[in-house]
Symmetry: C2
Subunit: 228 residues, 2 copies
């Protein structure tokens, strides 16, 4: 079943992480091209009109399929696996997985990533100066609100969307694992979410993410521990 | 096949319009609850954690399924119709439909809706004062860039994602039809896109949108014309 697939990704971009997790869960073998989306000669510019990773190219029978954006990659994985890897069979859980997908794609990115990851990650990468205390505080306040909501979900369910793992878990893990690298998540305050994260972290698909290193920033001491 | 479905929507919210178009295409009969998402007692607050329309409730066999956000509604329609209404069968066209879905969900909303619809629509609704000339200019410049890109797609294809109608067309129509109501689209500059829009506008699913009226703003003179 393995296709000559190549994933263009940036290791600390949440959607790129979700792509790696989803390909790992589906046991799709893939080569990797590490890209820097902020550089003028980033190869993703020629592949995706948005200029952003993740992009997956799949060459089969001499024809190359280019999958741009995480939604296209998740959809392709689900289509080829006939609907049993990333989406639950239950109709209500499918709706919940899609609601949470939208939640991350808009609310979480706007309120948390665009503030906190901008200060902690983009500013050093783009040499935009030191983080601003006011913005860090705003991003952390928003993160706490979101985490409290995820804690409530995790407390009542096996996985975020219901009884089985879904793309919602992998999308959540893409975002939260970057924030965890930067030490932004106080897991002790969210015990059910911590259990959920520890289950995800133990899956084989997660291993490669634990060895990622950001230039000039050591990961939180617990980042790579399965027992954190 | 008709289910007792109720759509909670706001007539000039792009995602709400896409929901109406998609339900129409799929011939799902539905009742309507017109909501004002900016009001404290909006019934959507109790249904969707984001507080935003569209939300579709479907009651079958005494059980109510709540579908929050346009992606969940589109996914439910596709699931129940066994994959032949909103998504093409071709693998590359499926990927393109998903790429364009992401494009509208992030880039178009951020660069056009959040600027131009904020000035023209949200400000009067929320009594935030008159539109700012600088913001109108910025939103219109961004809109032209997006329209030029859609024109290039429409010039080479039957529909935006390829040879057949897909959710990408209905999502695009949700956004562009609101901007068209406010007279923001100079169709003569985008002949291929105009042909595409005229094909969509002639479909039965589109009719209800053409009778919508925004308080205090007449639609563009061509808004409801099938031959514009």
């Amino acid at each position: 079943m393995s296709a000559p697939a190549v994933l263009y990704h940036f290791a600390f971009h949440p959607g790129s992480r979700t792509a790696r997790l989803a390909l790992g869960e589906a046991r799709v073998e893939f080569g990797e091209e590490l890209v820097k989306p902020w550089e003028d000669d980033c190869p993703v510019i020629d592949l995706n009109p948005s200029g952003m990773p993740p992009v997956l190219t799949v060459t089969e029978k001499g024809k190359t399929l280019t999958l741009c954006e995480i939604d296209a990659i998740l959809g392709w994985i689900e289509d080829r696996s006939k609907g049993d890897v990333l989406m639950p069979a239950d109709i209500a859980e499918r709706a919940e997985a899609r609601r949470l997908t939208s939640w991350f794609n808009r609310r979480f990115i706007d309120e948390v990533d665009a503030v906190l990851l901008h200060e902690r990650m983009e500013k050093p990468l783009l040499r935009l100066g030191p983080p601003e205390a006011r913005m860090l505080r705003e991003g952390r306040d928003a993160l706490r609100t979101h985490l409290a909501m995820f804690e409530a979900l995790a407390a009542g369910r096996e996985w975020l969307a219901g009884r089985r793992l879904s793309q919602a878990d992998l999308i959540a893990a893409g975002h939260l694992s970057v924030l965890d690298y930067f030490g932004e998540i106080t897991w002790a305050s969210y015990p059910a979410l911590k259990t959920w994260y520890s289950k995800l972290k133990s899956r084989p698909c997660f291993r490669p993410l634990l060895t990622d290193r950001f230039p000039g920033v050591h990961p939180a001491t617990w980042y790579a521990d399965l027992d954190f």
